[in-house]
Amino acid sequence: MTNPDANFLKGQKHLTRRYRAEQRFQWIGRIAIAASLTFLVFMVASIFWQGKGALITTKIALTVDLSTEMIDPANIKGASFDKIIKLALRTEFPEATKRKQKKRLYALVSSDAGFQLRDQILEGPALLGADQTIWVSASDDVDMLMKGHIDRNKPQNSRRLSDQQISWIDALLVKQVFNTGFFTNGDSREPELAGILSALVGSALSLLICFALSFPIGIMSAIYLEEFAKKGRWSDLIEININNLAAVPSIVFGLLGLSIFLNVFGLPRSSPLVGGMVLSLMTLPTIIIAARASLRAVPPSIREAALGMGASPVQATFHHVAPLAMPGFLTGTIVGMAQALGETAPLLMIGMVAFIVDIPGSILEPATALPVQIFLWADSPERAFLEKTSAAIIVLLIFLVLMNIIAIILRKKYEIRF
């Protein structure tokens, strides 16, 4: 064939080049995704690896003398439980006679051991009257040794436990159990006692306040601005300001909270109420922007249909437009809330950085929040706080995932196809 067009369907040079460029681009995209996934997996895996230790704690069995000489059954609370614990340790290891040795011996059990003994007796007064074997928490150093974080082969003076202490531990009956205290205790200076509950409750209460304030205010502002406000210089000005607010560093909102909520309004310092209010200042712009975008995405034909039926603008908005924009509202809210959950800086400004042992019972009591707790633990020198830090991060991540799951379920529920 001599027809010059005979090959018109075959690939030509510039076509092959085009396909190659396409291939190249796809590969770059795949590599980018693989890289980010690797980082993510690495991060999560390392956090879990470090944090899993916090779920285990070490207990020591002690044979304590609970005779009536030591404890008056009529006045159990008046007894000196610390003394009983110390006595038990001394009877076990009579060789510790010098003051320094005794101190080292006592350091094997947690400073909470006396209280644990008391609680067990109050729970079961039948224990009284004879020698009993009870389990008490070991100190964090013992816990670290059991978990292999203290190296026995190192010379004595470069580890936190002496050879004698290690030999005592080996002689004692020791077990590793699930650390329920981590989920039921507040913060503590002793790593083996420190728990996440007060921070968790503080975060939950703050977020509740934040949601209760920012969701209605944000959605209403968005609906008003998008559906009712006259477009003009004022609405432009407001829009620009809201967009700028979304980019303001969060610590500035903390300063605002400090000067307005605490100093002017006189609300209680360190409380989840103020924390939630400050966080809602921060989430509001996010929610408003997302909600306006989702309102704008509702087809105008729906608005016209409703208005053409004789619905008033408010009816048209709330019966038809807002329900269609609901998934968008929820997405914006959850993005804002997730930001708020991880926010530390503004909370530092209003005093939620305090060392809080008690679990806050109301929104007016002092509390701390999960990210602040993580920050505090990461700052502590004890080796045992390292795993607590990671475990707290795991709790924070699980909290976040749960929040997102709820949002997805709600969104699915409200999603209407059109």
């Binding site: 016209e304 053409g308 039926m309 004789g310 038809h320």
Partner: protein, 254 residues
């Protein structure tokens, strides 16, 4: 002697900002007839249609001057409630736009917000009546709880008509109701329009001159914001007075 028209428009000017979209439109629309508004794109026929139920109020920069009376009442008078007006002047749009709710709720929405029915059985009656009038009842009676957006295009448009007539308006405005539909669906809607004019007064904007000729008794021809000619459809199509009308219906402009 002719009956007094239901709608009379007198010297209606419409401005979008500084641009004049309609210029001194004076038109009478008789009751229980189909009046079609024809003309090339951008001639102002849809603008005029939207003046009749004041949908133009929604456009910030739109300004309407002149007088439109429905049954002797000036609809642009300050005491007129737009919501009440729209309950009497229903509208069917170019693209079918049922609410993303059930078929039942679509039709029931109007009577509900205007408080026309009080009991559930009354509502069911109104919904059935409207759907029957719109010729949709037989097709959807077993699936009233399914969403209205799941219907075919033609069915959706009939659902929109059912929704509009459920509040028993005096006038139904139709803005190119068949432009998004296939010929069969169009034919069904056209039949329906003819049926509906017994109860309602219908004004229809259409791009199809065949459609105007088929469904309407009166026709008004718009051109560049002016009402060029209006009269009985037959007269307009057979012996137009104005040269522009003639050019348009014979396909020389458009």
């Amino acid at each position: 002697m002719q009956k007094t028209p239901l709608i009379t428009a007198k010297d209606v000017d419409v401005f979008y900002g500084t641009k004049q979209a309609l210029d001194k439109i004076t038109l009478d629309i008789p009751e229980h007839k189909v009046t079609s508004l024809i003309g090339p794109s951008g001639c102002g026929k849809t603008t005029f249609l939207r003046c009749i139920n004041r949908m133009n109020d929604l456009v910030d920069i739109c300004r309407v001057e002149g007088q439109i009376e429905i049954a002797g009442q000036d609809i642009y008078a300050p005491e007129v409630d737009v919501v009440a007006l729209r309950a009497h002047v229903g509208m069917v749009f170019q693209k079918p736009n049922p609410f993303p709710k059930s078929i039942f709720d679509n039709v029931a929405y109007g009577p509900k917000i205007h408080g026309l029915v009080s009991t559930k059985s009354d509502m069911e009656e109104v919904v059935e009546w409207s759907l029957r009038k719109a010729g949709l009842w037989e097709e959807v009676k077993d699936r009233l709880n399914e969403t209205g957006t799941g219907l075919s295009g033609g069915q959706q448009q009939r659902l929109c008509i059912a929704r509009a007539i459920a509040v028993k308006p005096k006038v139904i405005l139709m803005d190119e109701p068949c432009s998004a539909l296939d010929p069969i669906a169009t034919a069904i809607i056209e039949e329906l329009i003819d049926e509906l004019r017994k109860k309602f007064t219908i004004i229809i904007v259409t791009h199809s001159m065949q459609q105007a000729a088929r469904v309407s008794q009166r026709t008004a021809f718009f051109h560049m914001g002016n009402l060029v000619e209006s009269g009985a459809t037959k007269t307009i199509f057979t012996s137009p007075q104005d040269e522009r009308t003639q050019n348009y219906i014979t396909g020389r402009i458009g």
